[in-house]
Amino acid sequence: MEYEAVIGLEIHVELQTDSKIFCGCSTAFGAEPNTNCCPGCLGLPGTLPLLNRRAVEYGVLAALALNCQVQEKSIFARKNYFYPDLPKAYQISQDDYPLARGGYLEIDLPEGSRRINLQRAHLEEEAGKLVHAGDSIMSAAYSLVDYNRAGVPLLEIVTEPEITSGREARLFLEELRRLLRYTGVSDVKMEEGSLRCDANLSLRPAGSSELGTRTEVKNLNSFRAVEQALNYEAERQARILAGGGEVIQATCHWDDSCKATVVMRMKEGAADYRYFPEPDLPPLLLERSYIEALKEKLPELPRQKRQRLRERYGLDDEEAAIIADTREMADFFECAAESYQDHRNLANWVQGDLIYQLREAGKEIEQISPALLVELLEMLDRGEINRPVAKELLEEMVKSGASPRRLVKKRGLGKISGTEELAPLVEQVITENPEAAENYRRGKKKALAFLVGKVMALTRGRADPQELNRLFKEKL
């Protein structure tokens, strides 16, 4: 039987506030363990939460960017469970009355765009971080806990179960990360855990509308892991069903080194969390005008930006996607495009050599002035330098921030042209390579390229090859 996968994602996004959601402890990543803790973070009796205004603002901004209906009234609730990363034995979260409902995100697939609908987005606090002593989580002798992370604000985003493959899940997450980065509410770094994803996956006979028994997959620490783990889990379940077996509701852990999911525990139902309204926090009431004002603050989002780049600058899909990957890259491009008219050429340099050089130099696009790239391209267009020199200058420009024009002057990298300068070099090369010169005279056209190459090598690529061709032909 043919099966199709039904996947829903739960995404946790750490909001980029300076202080935690319910207290004033710092949210700085990488601090010495257990140094950003107060009695509230440690769950000591008698402490009370007080909501961080910016956490709400960021949550609302993200929800609006995701086309959610932000609720004028939402309620914090206690989610009760015993686990060492949760010192109060409950997490302040939201249950029946989340911050936002509905919403969607569109992703681009080879066969066209697809809308993935969202169930909800709600605010909650982070749990602490567990470090497992030993080789793996399953064999650890004991665990170590760092409560620095406890209380960092989180936005949990839940999709409808309508993703159909690991690939789609990955594309969804990549677009989500791009969108959230545009809004500035999170640094969305999967490697630092500020963007995390759990997935629910079940199989059903192709074309059926019933939902099968699902498993939850955790420990998805990269986009690649999401894709691989979900594809693996879909195959695992398909093998069980094909063998006449039954999928058991469970939580699985993705083991990235073995490229396999490992069943960790039988899943308990949602009712086990015994949610109830948080008595220490009043309902979160938001005025419609406040929500509307935040909507006005939203920047142009990736999808709109890509479309505008295509329409306004004539870029193709791929160019627009690369340049609109970050707001900063798009800003750079648009700033340069104001004074440089060959937009396709500009896009070509930005998406190719410039991005490569930035990566090599470990620099960010914001550290480079668009005017310098324009200066470089104009010198190239006017024939003042040739392409290899332009690439060399770009590398130096990215490293030091120096003006390409000044670099050319300083290093004497300008193009060498004119008979006066080139003729002696042509003479020299003919004298040093009599065989090649003779071959050309006898009609071997290839010998010319060899001779021109010799002069290019002598001038480190600065000579004008067309002029060299002419000079050699005259001489020989």
Binding site: D18, S19, G24, C25, N34, L51, R53, M138, Y142, L285
Partner: protein, 105 residues
């Protein structure tokens, strides 16, 4: 145990497990009795006609209170670990969690 009681033996066991409590049979019986008395009271409240009334989630009618996003000093390490019996360097040390509890934010 009467058949109409809200919390039977199975529910009692489940509650004890969720609360991580080990109960002696006598304790279980006593708590069961008390919980059912509570449930009876709640049942009476449930008889009140509340159709169309929006539930009051919170007793106080408070205006929303916020704190500004400003970092305040945290506790010193000495104070953080003051009541902890199990410490490894700057971490709290706990039994291995593999295979237990629901976990996760």
């Amino acid at each position: 145990m009467a058949a109409d009681e809200a919390i039977g033996e199975r529910e009692m066991d489940e509650l004890a497990e969720l609360a991580c409590l080990y109960l002696e049979p006598a304790e279980k019986k006593m708590l069961n009795r008390r919980l059912n008395a509570l449930m009876e009271l709640l049942g009476k409240i449930g008889e009140v006609e509340t159709g169309g009334v929006e539930p009051d989630i919170h007793p106080g009618i408070l205006p929303p209170r916020f704190r500004e996003d400003e970092v305040e000093p945290s506790l010193s390490p000495g104070r953080v670990f003051q009541n902890s019996a199990h410490r490894s360097d700057s971490f709290f040390r706990v039994p291995s969690i593999a295979g237990e509890g629901p976990g996760g934010a």
